[in-house]
Amino acid sequence: MAERVAAQPELYSISSEHPALNGRRCVACGYVFFPPQSYGCESCGALPDQIEPAQLAGSGVLNSFATVHLHQGKGIEAPFTVGVIVLDDGPAVRSVLTARTDEGLRNGDRMHSVLTTCGTNEEGNEVVELRFTKTEATR
């Protein structure tokens, strides 16, 4: 049986259907950030050895969104919708949303991460990508 692989394994793991994001935390000043890097802390200048992994829960609030109607990039098929999600764990991230258009989306919607199949690689494995989707109210 073919395996599932992450399109960007450095940014998230696919062990859960609602993946956390691989953020980083500066031990020296407490700054939490995404995307991850280990060059040094942007907030206080601490050295790489002061930067530790920080799992950021894949949930947050939709700050803003835009449906891209026109895109000239190779292999990028418009329309698709990009959102800015302020994670419950602090940082704001930009992500592709599962909905192709912005129909039904509102600023302030609760959002969570999901895995979306985006193709197969040369080994025949299913490549999945982290996207965000609207969390439907469950009362």
Binding site: Q8, E10, L11, Y31, F34, P35, P36, Q37, E42, S43, N63, S64, F65, A66, T67, V68, H69, L70, H71, G73, I76, F80, V82, G83, V84, V86, G90, P91, A92, V93, R94, S95, V96, D102, N107, L130
Partner: protein, 383 residues
């Protein structure tokens, strides 16, 4: 001890020249640049041999662009260098020319911005830090997201945001150097094609080719070289800052602009009420509103209402993007910041013809660039 530009030797803009901004053509960057520099020399009534140093603002031409262009004015052996600072390349080249004169290293210095569309070799892309969206979020989507954020936060309609494009294209129609020289209606702006989010084509600036040149000189040089003092415009602040860490979904271009402008106002000893003409980095309609608010021309959230009220039209309280701005005049990258200085100088001289803001005395030029950087200059006619 540190000094501001104003505490150093006075610097004056004495010559301006442009090659029209236009769609990419077969014209060499050398021809584009020389056209602008020769016009600036003529405007200042200066010989090339009087120029002591030269900076070329360019982001796309590539290595060693200056001398292959400027040698055709006569190889005088002066110091030359390229200045790359993304969209703010021309602004930063102008700053370097100002600093040469202010310090006394040069009496006369040239800043020329020149570019042609081409492949971009980008520092951020080479930093190997990948995010979730990658190439799927290009600049127009970055600003489409900010447009959505702004409209939601302040309850503003897209018609109000798009009004910026109507004003700026009306101004551009009177600017012979503008890439877009045609007035448009709000319906035409909104008609599309739709690019990203609520942004339509006419709410995004055209990126073509062109050149803009500015010559700055000291008071000594003005006297000794017989430059017309009454047409010289003083540079009273040159300030640049870079992005810091902002929390959550803060808009970094706006926050960076807020901080840079505050420093420029302090150094120039002016308030927003003193500004008669302002050119900002209006690559997208939303940006003019955000930066007008950060400049303190109105309260936050009131930018769209200010634009539709006519207060920022030519003849209004403060003419915003009288040149047509990036939206109509165009954004050929390297020239853009230098072109803003040319427009403000023309306005403060009272030589802007159909685009003239009455009694313009003080002007401000603002650019941001990928990285992110922000460059602000304040000019004043102290005659």
């Amino acid at each position: 001890m540190k000094k501001t530009l104003r505490e150093m030797r006075p610097v004056y803009v004495v010559g301006i020249g442009l090659h029209r901004y236009q769609r990419m053509s077969e014209t060499s960057y050398v021809t584009l640049g020389l056209t602008a520099v020769r016009e600036a020399l003529k405007d200042a009534n200066l010989e090339w041999r009087s120029v002591d140093s030269a900076y070329t603002g360019t982001a796309l031409i590539g290595m060693a662009a200056s001398r292959p262009m400027l040698r055709h004015l006569g190889a005088t052996g002066i110091p030359m260098a390229q200045v790359e600072n993304a969209s703010a390349s021309g602004s930063t080249a102008f700053r370097q020319a100002c600093l040469d004169v202010a310090s006394g290293i040069a009496d006369v210095s040239l800043a020329v911005g020149v570019d042609k569309p081409g492949p971009v070799s980008s520092g951020p892309a080479k930093s190997n830090i990948r995010d979730l969206v990658g190439a799927r979020a290009v600049p127009f989507t970055h600003f489409a997201l900010l447009t959505n954020q702004y409209m939601n936060r302040y309850g503003v309609r897209i018609e109000d945001v798009a009004a910026v494009a109507v004003k700026n294209n009306r101004n551009g129609a009177n600017n012979p150097y503008a890439q877009r020289q045609k007035a448009v209606t709000l319906d035409e702006v909104l008609a599309g094609p739709q690019i990203s989010g609520a942004l339509t084509r006419l709410q995004c600036c055209p990126v073509g080719e062109g050149a803009a040149a500015v010559i700055v000189a000291s008071a000594d040089a003005i006297d000794e070289l017989g430059i017309n003092r009454s047409r010289a415009v003083r540079v009273i602040a040159s300030v640049t800052q870079t992005e810091r860490v902002y929390r959550g979904a803060a808009n970094f271009d706006a926050e960076l602009t807020r901080a840079t402008v505050a420093q420029a106002y302090k150094e120039a000893a002016i308030t927003p009420a003193d500004l008669d003409v302002v050119e900002v980095h209006d690559a997208f309609t939303i940006e003019e509103l955000l930066y007008a608010e950060m400049l303190g021309l109105c309260k936050e959230g009131e930018g769209a209402a200010m634009v539709t009220s006519g207060a920022t039209d030519i003849g209004g309280r403060c003419a915003l993007s009288a040149s047509g701005g990036l939206l109509a005049m165009g954004h050929p990258i390297g020239p853009t910041g230098a072109g803003q200085i040319a427009e403000i100088t023309r306005q403060l001289r009272g030589e802007a013809g159909a685009r003239q803001q009455p009694n313009a005395r003080t002007g401000l030029a603002h650019m941001v660039g990928v990285g992110a950087v922000c460059v602000v200059h304040v000019l004043q006619n102290d005659n």
